[in-house]
């Protein structure tokens, strides 16, 4: 393998996992955009999505239809879960000190992690292989069918989300609420409904991301939500939190950095890159790569 081929291969691998990070990052960024809340339980929603997908894949034969059902089931299930979390743990504290929401988010995380551990056991669960192990493209650089699917699904969802936000009444209401909740309320937008929908959409994306993650790594564990959630969060910040195209770019970029870092330096230090990049970006471009400069809020 020549240097250029190695680079390309790591590039493709990085983009694959990066698109999963991007899907999860969208949930963080959308919620933050609308109510300036860092949803620390978001990683666990992703993890629950992975288990929901696993459940479907164990019931259905490993086929494209099975994978599609798993994606839909995880998306729907997590959308409901996200709305429930918002209702139980965040909405009652909308007027409380900002930090108290952090505690309820941690409570939700503990609850979901342990619920999944009780249901599925503490050991790694294997996700059945659903794609042929063959490779597309005959040369030294290749892409597996699974990588293609992961990439296609993520791309489809990101485009769908863009359309939803810019072309539908719900999207307009979300943008209005993000700009100014009070003014949005004044013009007749049901802000609580918008917040709830935001949680539903973000969580659905995380659920789909969970299924893709399971397919990619072929094992899942109830601990996975924490690290992947943290990385997706890094991706959101990298792109400028609250900024939707930023989250997509941030996810892909983080995946690339990780892929290339693991390929050229060492896999052991893989996780340091993510955080080092995060810290550097925040220190030199505190609003993220695509974030606009905003005045400090009073």
């Amino acid at each position: 393998m020549t240097a250029a081929e190695l680079f390309l291969q790591q590039f493709i691998n990085g983009l694959t996992i990066g698109s999963v990070y991007a899907l999860i990052a969208l949930g963080y960024t959308m919620v933050y955009g609308v109510i300036q809340l860092i949803n620390f339980a978001h990683g666990e929603v992703f993890m629950v999505g992975a288990y929901l997908g696993l459940m479907v894949l164990l019931l259905l034969p490993p086929s494209p239809g099975g994978v599609l059902t798993a994606l839909l089931a995880a998306g729907t299930g997590c959308a409901l879960l996200g709305m429930l979390i918002e209702r139980v743990a965040y909405r009652p504290l909308r007027r409380a000190p900002k930090l108290s929401v952090l505690i309820t988010a941690i409570g939700v995380s503990f609850f979901l992690q342990n619920a999944m551990m009780l249901l599925w056991g503490a050991q790694d669960r294997y996700v059945p292989a659903c794609f042929s192990p063959g490779r597309l493209g005959g040369g030294a650089v290749s892409i597996t069918p699974m990588q293609a699917v992961i990439f296609a699904v993520s791309l489809f969802l990101m485009i769908a989300l863009q359309l939803l936000i810019h072309r539908t009444p719900l999207g307009r209401a979300m943008r209005a609420t993000a700009q100014d909740p009070l003014a949005a309320r004044l013009v007749g937008i049901r802000v609580e409904g918008v917040v709830s929908s935001t949680f539903a959409i973000g969580s659905a994306l995380a659920g789909v991301g969970g299924v893709l993650f399971g397919l990619h790594y072929s094992t899942i564990n109830f601990h996975d939500g924490y690290l992947v959630g943290l990385k997706a969060f890094t991706a959101a910040v990298l792109g400028g939190i609250g900024n939707i195209p930023g989250a997509m770019a941030g996810g892909l970029l983080l995946g690339l950095l990780e892929g290339l870092g693991a390929g050229y330096l060492s896999t052991q230090w893989k996780n340091v890159f993510a955080f080092a990049v995060l810290v550097l970006v925040l220190l030199f471009r505190p609003r993220g790569l695509l974030g606009e400069r905003v005045a400090e809020r009073a």
Binding site: I35, Q36, L37, I38, V88, A89, P92, L93, R94, R95, A96, P97, K98, L99, S100, V101, L102, I103, T104, I106, G107, V108, S109, F110, F111, L112, Q113, N114, A115, L118, P181, L182, V191, Y226, L230, F233, T234, V237, I241, Q268, W269, N271, V272, F275, A276, L278, V279, L282, L283, P286, E296, A298
Partner: protein, 285 residues
């Protein structure tokens, strides 16, 4: 006794973090890193230089304090949520570096055979009771120091920065300097706690210092009521004893623990002993 010793250890950590988050208003999510630095500082000093515990204790505190300031220098330029994320990043970096720096830290297996403390002929060994009294003494000392600080000019300046940094700066308060002071004080307490922890366990491994620990300590501080010293102590006691009380439910214990955390915050959003009403404009109004 083991539970009480753990509770006292958490109390010490909560007191330290309360100085940073509660007094100075710096939301720090990587506090476990300073605890780790303290633990590894004593472990290395003891194993490589034969440093006794009583000398290691202040040295571990100084090391952690210095780290807190060094990492704080670049970090305090950013504010609010962003500071939280930078500190979270630093916390993780410290843990991963410790895990991967095998020749020094023993990697994932950690370091073994760290000396237990000794006073004259009284050897602490693995007796939790003695560590409990030691920790209780340190908690008392730190609580007293924190109270003195809170009521000093520094404490008042911290409160001013926390409530409105711009206004505080315009009154001539050197916010940068004072924030670093808060980090130094909080870091020292975590370092001391880390040293006692290393001495008590006799071993240190990197997985004792993960993000969950930072979050748990923060949860104690917030649960007790930000900025309240007795609150930090009560929060630490609650969150370290509660899982033990739930032990009867065995496997469902942490599940219930999570649910209780949500419930407690819904009932008392300002924390158990927090009385200061939020003067910030709530989001969405």
């Amino acid at each position: 006794m083991e539970v009480l010793a753990t509770a006292a250890l958490y109390a010490l950590l909560a007191l330290g973090l309360n100085v940073i988050v509660g007094f100075a208003g710096l939301l720090h999510l990587g506090y476990a890193a300073f605890f780790a630095i303290g633990a590894y500082a004593y472990a290395l000093l003891n194993l490589r230089a034969g440093c006794p515990f009583w000398l290691g204790l202040p040295l571990a505190g100084i090391c952690a304090s210095a780290t807190a300031v060094l990492l704080g220098l670049p970090a305090i330029r950013v504010r609010g949520d962003y500071l939280a994320i930078v500190t979270l990043g630093f916390g993780e970096i410290v843990r991963i570096v410790v895990t991967n720096l095998e020749p020094w830290t023993g990697g994932p297996n950690g370091l073994l055979g760290i000396d237990h403390p000794q006073i004259g002929s009284l050897r602490f060994g693995v007796d939790s009771k003695l560590y409990y009294w030691l920790l209780l003494f340190l908690v008392g000392l730190c609580a007293w120091a924190a109270r003195r600080l809170q009521r000093s000019r520094i404490g008042l300046a911290w409160a001013a920065i926390r409530e409105d940094e711009l206004a505080a700066r315009s009154l001539g308060i050197d916010a940068t300097h004072l924030k670093l002071t808060a980090l130094a004080v909080g870091g020292a307490m975590a370092g001391a706690a880390g040293c006692v922890f290393a001495a008590k366990q006799g071993t240190v491994t990197p997985d004792s210092f993960d993000f969950i620990l930072s979050v748990m300590i923060l949860a104690m501080v917030i649960l007790g009521g930000l900025g309240s010293i007795s609150g930090a102590l009560l929060g630490a006691a609650t969150l370290s004893v509660l899982p033990e009380l739930l032990r009867d439910f065995s496997t469902y214990r942490m599940l219930l623990f999570g649910a209780l955390m949500i419930l407690l915050m819904r009932v008392r959003p300002q924390g158990l002993l927090g009385s200061r009403p939020s003067r910030h404009v709530p989001a969405g109004s």
